[in-house]
Symmetry: C2
């Protein structure tokens, strides 16, 4: 199975390393023999139909600043959609850095894959938040597989669990904490009585939050996951424009204290019910959604059965890389791959 | 797809009702057209190749005390394994009342199904706790599907989530609260400062515990789930004899109070790690396993990714019936059924 990876950030690097180190087990257990035929980053690409070596890619990146520095296989100033369309890949992994405000490039990459009959895995939320119904339709029209389990919950198999719960029952609504950074901030404000700006600065220091934390604290990241769940689990075509979003930027400490006085905790909750929303809400202390630190949690309300809650780390390069591996095996099975 | 159901307790009744009410959706969404061709209870059976009506079964059970009272289709003093072997079913659902101490009958029922080329779904833990490796082997040898997702976690898809986490990663160990009754008892002892016998009596009154609560409070029920997870998720052949079991019968209130003084909660924890065990253990307050009331919770420790925790109600007739429905759809897909 020939694989083309867009992006060479933490997730992409973890994934190609996993692919290389698990080669024997992928073959013996699943009959899958993957070959990495292309990788690109913001400055160029490396392409080889015979397969790329991960150490070469990392060395080139270190010495020249781009994977395009790989001797004999580098492509500078690559036109990525064109490379995708013209290469011989079976599966394209879109793992370029998520830019919620500029999803156009990632959308073009996925379109190029679908239109030329290639399956795709996206770990990038941006194209789904902006255009999930169109992306799903294009994949289906071109009869290719499209997977994106790393976009919600990182390595925690949130989408699979939700789909699984939906089989033989009906998912009525979903509530959850879909962003670890904001959960860390709210939790720290409560535990240590600190104010928003102090904790945000600490979160940036610790690497929990980006230097530009807007996507997290303004609720955009959580809203994109609301979109993906609504489309995938509840079968409701929607984009991020359909989500009412209220973030936690500058949240006064008093909101936390008032909640605590009622025995509650303030959390940034994404809701997929009658309407779609992200907003700070109170949950009772001890509720399954009352999770500490940077954990994520999601509660599914089902028609016949009782609530199901899933808790896990929402992000992390290695976690998300394992979800890409699961998606790859899923595609392999869906197209009839056999051990 | 022709279905034979062993047992007519809460789970079996909920399942056959679900089967009847979901008939249109099962056909339109999955291409599956199920027909209930046999049901038996402790006093007899009803068999009809043309299909049984659920209302007739319930009416017969109410007026005559057994489904064998259905006019024209009743079989008194049925030999269940023989009925299973001779009927024309595609799938046998073993949902007879769980008797951990006497698994022989359920084992015979499953063997009869496997040996005559019938797929099987067990919601009965007893045959798995006593002989899971042999049961798995027999199903595999006869080239039939065997599912049992209702045996752990009721309607919460614990086994599926664990398997899902194991794909593209490795499950190193599992810890969990696998019995709702004992969690209710320990939680109530902590919350209200009551002693064991008082809370047990209340749990029996409320219907949370059986009149004979041994399987719950002696840890046998939890141990059987430890066996199923160890076999299914970690691929470790074992039976209940391999589990070190310590229950909570007569647990002194001081144990709860000492834990609380350390900021901990006492829980009945099943562990699948180096060894297999069920025993009362302390978990920190606020830990994902610190779940209230009769909830179940399970934490999977993975090799590459961070911990994943799943919380849900462990039992309930309707919940477990939805898991049987999922198993049925799984079997339908595994044998090539198409929408």
């Amino acid at each position: 199975m020939r694989i083309f990876v867009v992006g060479f950030g933490v997730v992409a690097r973890s994934f190609v390393e996993l692919l290389e180190s698990q080669q024997p087990i992928l073959y013996s257990q699943h009959g899958l023999s993957p070959r990495l035929i292309g990788v690109c980053d913001s400055k160029g690409a490396a392409v080889s139909e015979r397969g790329l070596i991960v150490d070469d890619l990392k060395a080139a990146r270190e010495s020249t600043g781009s994977v395009s520095g790989v001797a004999g296989h580098g492509v500078r100033n690559a036109n990525v959609p064109q490379l995708i369309a013209e290469c011989d890949a079976d599966v394209v992994v879109e793992a370029s850095p998520s830019q919620m405000s500029a999803p156009a490039r990632a959308i073009e990459n996925l379109k190029a894959a679908f239109r030329t009959g290639k399956h795709a895995i996206s770990v990038n939320k941006a194209p789904l938040a902006a255009a999930m119904p169109a992306m799903m339709e294009l994949a289906s029209f071109n009869n290719v597989q499209f997977r994106f389990s790393g976009t919600v919950g990182g390595g925690t198999p949130v989408l699979n669990v939700a789909r699984e719960c939906a089989r033989g029952d009906k998912v009525k609504s979903v509530r959850g904490i879909f962003n670890g950074t904001t959960n860390f901030i709210l939790w720290k404000m409560h535990e240590e009585g600190l104010d928003f700006d102090t904790v945000l600065a600490e979160a940036i220091d610790l690497g929990y939050a980006e230097t530009d934390p807007s996507a997290d604290i303004d609720g955009i990241d959580a809203a994109s996951k609301v979109v993906i769940l609504a489309n995938y689990v509840l079968g409701r075509p929607c984009t991020i424009d359909d989500v009412r979003v209220e973030g936690i930027r500058g949240l006064p400490r008093e909101r936390i204290e008032q909640a605590a006085a009622r025995g509650h905790r303030l959390k940034l909750i994404g809701e997929i019910g009658e309407t779609l929303s992200v907003s700070p809400q109170e949950v009772p202390a001890g509720d399954p959604l009352d999770v500490p630190s940077s954990l994520n949690a999601i509660t599914l309300t089902l028609k016949a059965s009782a609530d199901v809650t899933l808790i896990g780390r929402g992000a992390g390069g290695i976690e998300t890389a394992t979800s890409v591996m699961r998606d790859l095996l899923d595609i392999w099975n869906a197209i009839g791959g056999q051990p």
